[in-house]
Each structure stands twice: as structure tokens, then as C-alpha cells.
């Protein structure tokens, strides 16, 4: 009868619900950990740790494109995860802002500190102090489909070593038919192309940034233009599927796994995916070549760090140290096809006799990683100048316009 009573009850209920405490407290150490959505064996590591330790880690996977935004917001809110597996190129930005715990003393104690992958260690340093150690090693290279190479009359044992040879190989595969494609790039994915396209420039002796990372060299370095023209040719001649132009990275791995793509830029993380999920895929690996030869690779992957403000620094380090142990590196990483973060462990029983793993691992020797605090804004941001420049040059063919725009926006961002 009285219409107000239920209303008031609802109000009361809602206010009570809204103010309930969020989680019960107990004595056990519970840590949170974030990782971007890249298929390293992070989940396996955490599961193994949780099964054998009192302290527990809750792992959250953040979409790669949103990692920096989410991490920044969490730090600003004073609620960062205890442990973060961060794309190594972002580390300078976070350590420069004082958001990571200085772990120099811990690192000094490690007997194998010198054999940790150098690119990751360097990116984890800021003003001479260590803030992060490697946790996922991911160099870039090119995978090629051996069956398609053979069908096209190419020698799979002698993969291309210059841009012209790559183009010739693509054109040969092109002749195989409509459903066969020669190459794949995810041209709506900024990070994918930093990873697989920048090395074409580096291998030819060029770069988009000056050696001291102080200025952009997009218009002054002729190699940049040549590399864009090379990819533009691939696009114009229809050597990649049209859908590649809008792929935001969702098909970066899947496209090649389908078996009708001749070659594609790829990273170490994909090899276990191919060998486990697509055992029929007969593929090989070669280094990303320069214009007239040479080789380069993007030394990518993740480092692991403890966020400032964590209440469990000691325990977090105990976990991190364990992830680098022989046991974890060989029985979890290598056993699942992932490259160990300690160079001396690349020679392990699981990799023995696998040329692809050995070639992929050797890419690390020619690996290079830019060190800049604005890396995300320049390269990885989906709205950053890098992707815009590539799309305008490669898909629209306006290379001059793209170079000019890239130089201008790079410069603006680098000047802050």
C-alpha cells in the first residue's frame, strides 16, 4: 500500500552495498602482478610459484595497447601492482618518473648478472641504477613458409638476404595463385611495425633517431625513405592481403599460421605458438635484411620490475629472482619454446637441434633497442606519428608527405 517503503529500502540497500569493504584482510602475502597481452609463459610462471609458495600472486593481463594508460593511471592513483612485467621500451619512462623500486643491490648479488640479456639490462637502467631485469626476450626476425618456397621454386635453404631478393621471392610466390599471399604486415598496429619494420632501416645502416636520441632523422636519413618505398612497393604490387592494411595486430601471428602467407615479420614469442598449435606449419627463420645485406633485429620483450609503493619488495624480488633461476628458465621457458633470459641457457636440451630456435636466438646478437622516455608516444601509440607516417607512405604512396609529417611530429614530441 505504502509506495515509499520499498523505495527507501532500495536506497538503503544500495548505499550499504556501495560502502562495503572491498576485500577481507589476512596475514598471507598477496601480491598483484600485471603483464601486457603477449603470450610469454608468464601465467605458467605465476601458477608454478603459487603452487609452491606461501605468498600468492594474482596476475592481470592488460591489453598491450592500453598498458601504459592503465599503468599510469594506477601509479597516479597510488595503486600500482606490486610486480609489473613491462614492455622493456617503456622502462626508461617509468624509472625516470621514480615509479620503480631501485633494485641495484639485489642485482649485484646475482651470480649470473652478466649473462642477462644486455638490451633488457640497459633499458632497465636509469642514471646508473638498475630498476628492472629481463623476463621475456623477444627479438624480431622473418619467418617463411618452406612449403610455399618449394612450390614457387625457391631454395628454402637460402632465404633472401637483401630487399630485392625478398621482393623477387614474393613475386615468385605470387604466381602460385589467388589464395596464396607473399607477405604479411599488420599495418594498423604501431608496435608490430616498430618491431618488424625498424630493423629493415637499421640493417641498412640508417635510423629514425639520432645516436643520442636527441632528434629525429626521418627526413635527413635517406634509408628511411628507401625502406618506406620498399614496403610501398609490396603494397602497390598487391603482395600482401588487403586486410593487412587495417589489421590492428590481431592477425600478427594468426595470418602466417594459416599457411598461405609466404613471409612475415615475427618475434620469438610466436615460435612456440606455431610449433604447438600448428604442427603442420613447415616454417623457417631468417634475419631481417638490410637493403644490400646485413641483418638487424629489434631487441624486444619484457622486463620485470617492482613498483614504488609496494609493501612486499623482498617477497616480490624473491619471485623475480626465482623466475631467472635455472629451474624456471629451462623447465618453464625453454620447455615451452620460449628463449631464456640468460644467454648461457640458450644452449639447453629443449633447443638442441632446432635450427629455428637457434636462428631466432641469434637474432639477439644483432638486436637493438631505442632508449627514449617518449618511446610510447613516438612509436607504440596507435595515434602516434610512427603509424601515421607508415600508413601514409606505404598505403597511400605519399612518401614525401609522410616523411615531412613524421619529422615534424617526432620533433614536437621529443622536444616535449
Amino acid at each position: 500500500m505504502n509506495s515509499r517503503k520499498p523505495l527507501l529500502l532500495v536506497l538503503a540497500f544500495v548505499l550499504v552495498i556501495g560502502s562495503l569493504p572491498l576485500a577481507a584482510q589476512d596475514d598471507q602475502i598477496n601480491m598483484t602482478m600485471w603483464v601486457r597481452s603477449i603470450p610469454f609463459q608468464t601465467q605458467a610462471m605465476v601458477d608454478e610459484w603459487n603452487a609452491n609458495n606461501d605468498s600468492q600472486i594474482e596476475l592481470t593481463v592488460i591489453p598491450s595497447a592500453e598498458f601504459v594508460t592503465k599503468m599510469g593511471a594506477a601509479i597516479a592513483a597510488g595503486e600500482p601492482p606490486d610486480i609489473a612485467s613491462i614492455d622493456l621500451i617503456y622502462t626508461p619512462a617509468f624509472s625516470a618518473a621514480g615509479q620503480l623500486v631501485d633494485i641495484t643491490e639485489f642485482v649485484r648479488e646475482l651470480p649470473y648478472a652478466d649473462s642477462l640479456t644486455p638490451a633488457h639490462m640497459e633499458l632497465g637502467m636509469y642514471e646508473g641504477r638498475n630498476y628492472a631485469v629481463p623476463t621475456g626476450v623477444d627479438g624480431s626476425f622473418i619467418v617463411y613458409n618452406i612449403d610455399l618456397f618449394e612450390q614457387a621454386g625457391l631454395d628454402p635453404d637460402n632465404p633472401p638476404s637483401t630487399w630485392d631478393e625478398m621482393l623477387d621471392a614474393m613475386r615468385a610466390i605470387n604466381a602460385l595463385g589467388d589464395e596464396i599471399y607473399r607477405y604479411w604486415f599488420s599495418m594498423n598496429c604501431a608496435g608490430c611495425n616498430a618491431f618488424t619494420f625498424l630493423p629493415f632501416i637499421w640493417a641498412s645502416g640508417g635510423d629514425v633517431l639520432s645516436d643520442d636520441y636527441a632528434e629525429a632523422t626521418i627526413t635527413s636519413d635517406p634509408i628511411v625513405r628507401d625502406a618506406l618505398a620498399f614496403y610501398n612497393t609490396i603494397w602497390e604490387e598487391g603482395l600482401v592481403p588487403e586486410g593487412a592494411s587495417i589489421d590492428n595486430g590481431a592477425n600478427f601471428v594468426n595470418a602466417f599460421a594459416a599457411g598461405n602467407i609466404g613471409m612475415a615479420g615475427m618475434g620469438n614469442f610466436a615460435i612456440p605458438l606455431f610449433t604447438n598449435d600448428h604442427p603442420d606449419l613447415n616454417f623457417g627463420v631468417f634475419h631481417i635484411p638490410g637493403k644490400e645485406g646485413g641483418a638487424a633485429s629489434f631487441g624486444g620483450g619484457d622486463v620485470i620490475a617492482i613498483a614504488s609503493g609496494s609493501e612486499h619488495v623482498e617477497e616480490a624480488w624473491r619471485f623475480i629472482e626465482w623466475t631467472m633461476s635455472d629451474e624456471a628458465q629451462i623447465e618453464i621457458y625453454a620447455a615451452n619454446g620460449q628463449i631464456p633470459v640468460r644467454l648461457e641457457l640458450v644452449d639447453n636440451p629443449y633447443f638442441e637441434g632446432d635450427d629455428r630456435q637457434m636462428t631466432a636466438a641469434s637474432a639477439l646478437a644483432v638486436g637493438f633497442t631505442p632508449y627514449t622516455v617518449v618511446y610510447n608516444d613516438l612509436f607504440n601509440d596507435p595515434n602516434g606519428p610512427w603509424l601515421e607516417m607508415l600508413q601514409i607512405a606505404i598505403l597511400d604512396g605519399d612518401i614525401d608527405g609522410a616523411l615531412e609529417l613524421g619529422q615534424e611530429r617526432f620533433t614536437q614530441i621529443m622536444e616535449g
Binding site: 509506495s3 544500495v14 552495498i17 597516479a76 592513483a77 590481431a250 592477425n251
Partner: protein
């Protein structure tokens, strides 16, 4: 005689023609209405159809028109999606929406009553201040809102997000409730005043029932707007456990490991459409009243 008969006949046939013409026009109108209605309903219908396909069929290239088999597996997958599952996000959206509804009702009713029935110094200035919120949408003050919410430790809480939503429901709510109270005749209240009732008990015992339609309207708008809001939810929530439905759905769109689960996405779209659709259909009259009252009369 025969001339008039002819005339009458001509008039009759003319009427007949006019009647037929009107009928043809009416039929045409219905034909157009039905076609347009189909076009409008199609996206929702198509989403529903795909949500009940088998997961493998929902991602088939090219797509099939009709499901080969009806299945609720996509919905089942949602219950465990991203480890958290959709139930948590439905809960988040519901809590935020209910707090917003509760807060909007209380504040708009009190404020509307105050502005409608009382005279006090500064009344007009305060009323204009409240209404001016209408002109300046929250998109332009998001940055300081974020800074403030973080400073008072309400970041990543459903309550903090609801507070922001309440604020931006207020001008509309106050405006509407003030009009509702103004429409109530003064006499009703005066007799109660003479009986010595306090203002709060008059509001509670007497007025509330009379302005109930206004309250329902405020509640519907508060619910639908907070249920659907995306940008503020995206910024104020960084903990995945706290994502509201629309933000959760975009994480499916970008895929956890790159693969997009389109079937689950469509199931999620349907799940998130149902509450606001049901509320709208059930209480359509109040919704339209609010739209007309809030927009056309001012």
C-alpha cells in the same frame, strides 16, 4: 432531377476516389513504416542471432545468415571471460547505476522541493549555478575530476564513479523535480503546514506521492545514462575487476591474446542492452515525459 442524381453520383464517386486514395496513402505509410522499422531493428536482431550461434560459427568467414544450431555457449563463455567473468561486470554496472539512481533521486527531490517552494537569499543565483552544469559537459572537466577522485582515494571504486554520474544527472533532475513540485497546488501543502507538520514530513508524507512520476523519470534517466556511460568509466577504473559493462566489452573487442571472440562479444552486447531496453519499454511514458518536459518546455 437526373442532373442532381448524376451530380450526387459524381460526388459519390469522387468521395470514393478520395477514400481510396486516402486508403492507398495509409497503406503506403504502413509499408514505409514497416520497412524502416525492420532497418532499425536489424542490428539488434542480428546481434542476437549471432549470440546464439555456436562459438565457431559466430567467427566463421564468411558469416552464415542463420545459425545451424541454437546454442548458448557464447553466453556461457562470457561467464568465465577474462578470468573475471561477466557477472562481476554486470554487478559493477548495476551497483554504479543504483547508487546513481538513489543519489539522483534524493538530491533532485530535496533540491527541487527547495527551489520550488521556498524563498531564501541567493536562490536564483544557486539555481542558475546548478543549471549551468547543463551547458558544460563533463568531458571538458574530466582531468581535474580525475585528479580529485584520485586524491580522495575514490579512484577504482564504484562509489567514486557514481558520484561523478550523480553530479551530471543533477541539473536535469533538479529542473524536472522543481517543475513537478511547482505543478502541485499550494493549498494541499498549506493545510498540512497549519496542522503543524514539519517541512520534511510534508515532503515525505504528502508531496512524494504527488511527484512520483517525476521521480520515476529522474530514476530512469539516471539508470540508463550511468548504465551506458563509457568515457568516465574508462578513465576512472583501471582495475579490471571494477570495469563496468561497456568498458569490459571493449576488452573483448581488442581480445586478450589478440583473437577477438565475436560470439562472446555479441552475447555481451545483448546482455548489456537488455536492462536499459526493459526499463525503457516498461516505463516508456515517464521517459518521454522527461524528454518533452526537460527539453521542449524550456
Amino acid at each position: 432531377m437526373s442532373a442532381t442524381a448524376l451530380d450526387a453520383q459524381a460526388k459519390r464517386s469522387q468521395q470514393e476516389i478520395r477514400r481510396l486514395r486516402r486508403r492507398a496513402l495509409l497503406t503506403l505509410r504502413y509499408v514505409v513504416l514497416v520497412i524502416v522499422a525492420i532497418l532499425f531493428l536489424f542490428p539488434i536482431f542480428w546481434s542476437f542471432i549471432n549470440s546464439i550461434k555456436l562459438p565457431a560459427e559466430a567467427v566463421a568467414v564468411p558469416p552464415t545468415y542463420l545459425p545451424t544450431e541454437i546454442s548458448f555457449e557464447n553466453y556461457e563463455e562470457l561467464t568465465t571471460y577474462g578470468k573475471i567473468g561477466i557477472a562481476q561486470h554486470v554487478y559493477n554496472s548495476t551497483v554504479v547505476a543504483l547508487i546513481t539512481v538513489a543519489g539522483s533521486i534524493v538530491l533532485s527531490t530535496l533540491g527541487g522541493y527547495g527551489f520550488a517552494r521556498f524563498n531564501f537569499p541567493g536562490k536564483n543565483v544557486l539555481f542558475i549555478m546548478v543549471l549551468s552544469t547543463l551547458m558544460i559537459p563533463f568531458q571538458s572537466i574530466l582531468i581535474p575530476l580525475f585528479v580529485m577522485i584520485v586524491q580522495v582515494d575514490l579512484h577504482d571504486t564504484l562509489f567514486g564513479l557514481a558520484l561523478v554520474y550523480i553530479t551530471f544527472q543533477l541539473p536535469f533532475g533538479i529542473f524536472l523535480m522543481r517543475n513537478s513540485f511547482l505543478a502541485v497546488p499550494h493549498e494541499i501543502e498549506e493545510s498540512a503546514l497549519l496542522d503543524g507538520c514539519s517541512s520534511l514530513s510534508i515532503l515525505y508524507r504528502l508531496m512524494l506521492r504527488l511527484v512520483l512520476p517525476g521521480i520515476v523519470t529522474v530514476a530512469i534517466y539516471a539508470f540508463i545514462n550511468s548504465w551506458n556511460e563509457f568515457l568516465a568509466a574508462l578513465i576512472f577504473m583501471s582495475d579490471q575487476d571494477k570495469f563496468t559493462l561497456p568498458v569490459f566489452l571493449t576488452t573483448i573487442r581488442y581480445g586478450i591474446w589478440g583473437d577477438v571472440n565475436w560470439g562472446a562479444l555479441q552475447a555481451g552486447v545483448i546482455v548489456s542492452i537488455i536492462p536499459s531496453l526493459a526499463i525503457f519499454l516498461a516505463l516508456q511514458r515517464y521517459y518521454m515525459d522527461g524528454l518533452m518536459g526537460g527539453a521542449v518546455k524550456n
